[in-house]
């Protein structure tokens, strides 16, 4: 009943172009769509801008994409972690650009992209280094920064179960950025643990409606 297709990881990422902005779900490894990132490495698109909460952990997933030299810029809230050696090395060598965005502004900027909001005023970051170059405005006596949407050409997200109408449910805190990124990207690819028939998910409990999902890729847990 929808346009959502069931695809292999390779089919789903086939059209990602050089220079694309790719939103990558996950908070650390929870919700990280590793199989989709592996397929993107295989596919070969380069000069990518990656938007994700972190900048890769260990040597797999997002870290592997960075290590393969495919990423021009990372927009994230928290690149530096105990196991972010791949990013750290590239950054110190001047081989990757970094835009640090407070986590809530990052989420809200993607939410704005999905929701057709042109820009919004956030109180987060006022008076800090991250306010540099941003417009400020005082509203009802409080200071705000003007923040713009972050659109993705593609979103790679991890979810728990998808139905054939493209509806997604997540599991526990692995939900994190998935629903926001699904709405913010032109093409959304969801890695799910299982695919069920339309009607098998409770319509009250659907988190991401199928309208936001172009490809479902089943990857056993």
């Amino acid at each position: 009943m929808s346009r959502t297709r069931v695809s292999t990881a390779a089919e789903a990422v086939a059209d990602v172009s050089d220079g694309a902005t790719v939103l990558v779900g996950g908070f650390g490894m929870a919700g990280m769509p590793v199989a989709l990132i592996d397929a993107l490495i295989e596919q070969g698109a380069k000069d990518l801008t990656i938007v994700s909460n972190n900048a890769g952990n260990g040597d797999t997933g997002l870290a592997a994409l960075l290590a393969a030299g495919r990423v021009r810029k990372v927009i994230c809230s928290f690149p530096r972690q105990s196991d972010s050696w791949v990013f750290d090395g590239l950054y110190r060598a001047g081989k990757i650009e970094l835009e640090v965005v407070p986590q809530g502004n990052l989420a809200e900027r993607m939410r704005a992209a999905g929701a057709g909001i042109g820009a919004f005023y956030s109180p987060t970051g006022v008076g800090t280094l991250l306010a540099e170059g941003k417009e400020t405005r005082t509203i009802d006596g409080r200071d705000y920064l003007l923040e713009f949407p972050i659109h993705g050409d593609v979103a790679l997200i991890g979810a728990h179960t998808g139905d054939r109408a493209g509806n997604l449910v997540y599991r526990k805190t692995a939900r994190n950025f998935g629903p926001v990124m699904a709405a913010a990207a032109t093409t959304t690819i969801a890695q799910v643990r299982s695919i069920v028939d339309a009607g098998a998910l409770d319509p009250e409990a659907v988190v991401t409606p199928g309208i936001y999902v172009e490809h479902l890729v089943e990857v056993a847990a």
């Binding site: 509806n167 319509p203 409606p209 309208i211």
Partner: protein, 210 residues
């Protein structure tokens, strides 16, 4: 023969591609659902649902499940519910392929007037009309081509208060179907009227498809 309301609904339904996400405005546009294969086209209702089914009757009437016109409706497999901010985020964010609305007037440039007659004593009520006009990728208007007083409703410039600017892409009427394109207004089909007669009765320039 000119089309009756049901005929207009059928013509619109014919032009909605499989896989489309569609919002049907309050009133006449809801009739379009009768001619759609709802296993292939997904209906959105702005009061918080995708996968809306046909109108509910008898024991299927549920006061918790209505369309935007507050009529009882049904739920299809694959449906999803969401709240109002999420529903209009979906609309405003450009995720709906098509919405179908009635109109008082449409201009040749695609301006839409369908929320207010402009009468000084009218109580203004806009509902979701401006959000739909601005948000859906394509806005199809369904209306009779001429008002009861004989004046054309497809006009050079709207005289009624606007709902949205340059938002309408097609106008489906009882006498003809119009595609509003960057190159002008193209009549793609007529019903019970000749093109030349149509051209004479309208104050806008119309062309035949190339």
């Amino acid at each position: 023969m000119s089309l009756d309301r049901d005929g207009m609904a059928r013509v619109i339904a014919r032009d909605i591609p499989d896989g489309a996400y569609v919002n049907l405005g309050i009133g006449q546009p809801t009739r379009v659902a009768d001619h759609l294969d709802l296993t292939k086209v997904v209906l959105h209702t702005e009061n918080g649902m995708l996968g809306m089914g046909p109108l509910a009757t008898g024991d299927h009437v549920d006061p918790d499940l209505t369309n935007a016109g507050k009529q009882p409706v049904t739920e299809l497999p694959g449906a999803a519910y969401f709240h109002h901010a999420d529903s209009f985020a979906m609309m405003r964010g450009g995720h709906l392929d098509i919405c179908i609305m009635g109109a008082f007037q449409v201009s040749a440039g695609g301006d839409l007037a369908n929320w207010h007659t402009g009468a000084p004593d009218a109580i203004p009520a806009v509902g979701g009309a401006m959000d739909l006009a601005t948000g859906a990728r394509d806005v199809f208007v369904m209306m009779t081509l001429f008002a009861k007083d004989g004046s054309a409703k497809l006009v050079p410039e709207c005289t009624y208060p606007l709902t949205g600017l340059a938002c309408v892409s097609r106008v489906y009427t009882d006498l003809a179907t119009f595609h509003l394109t960057p190159d002008g207004v193209v009549v793609t089909e007529t019903f019970g009227i000749e093109f030349d007669e149509l051209a004479k009765r309208l104050d806008i320039e119309i062309t035949r498809p190339r």
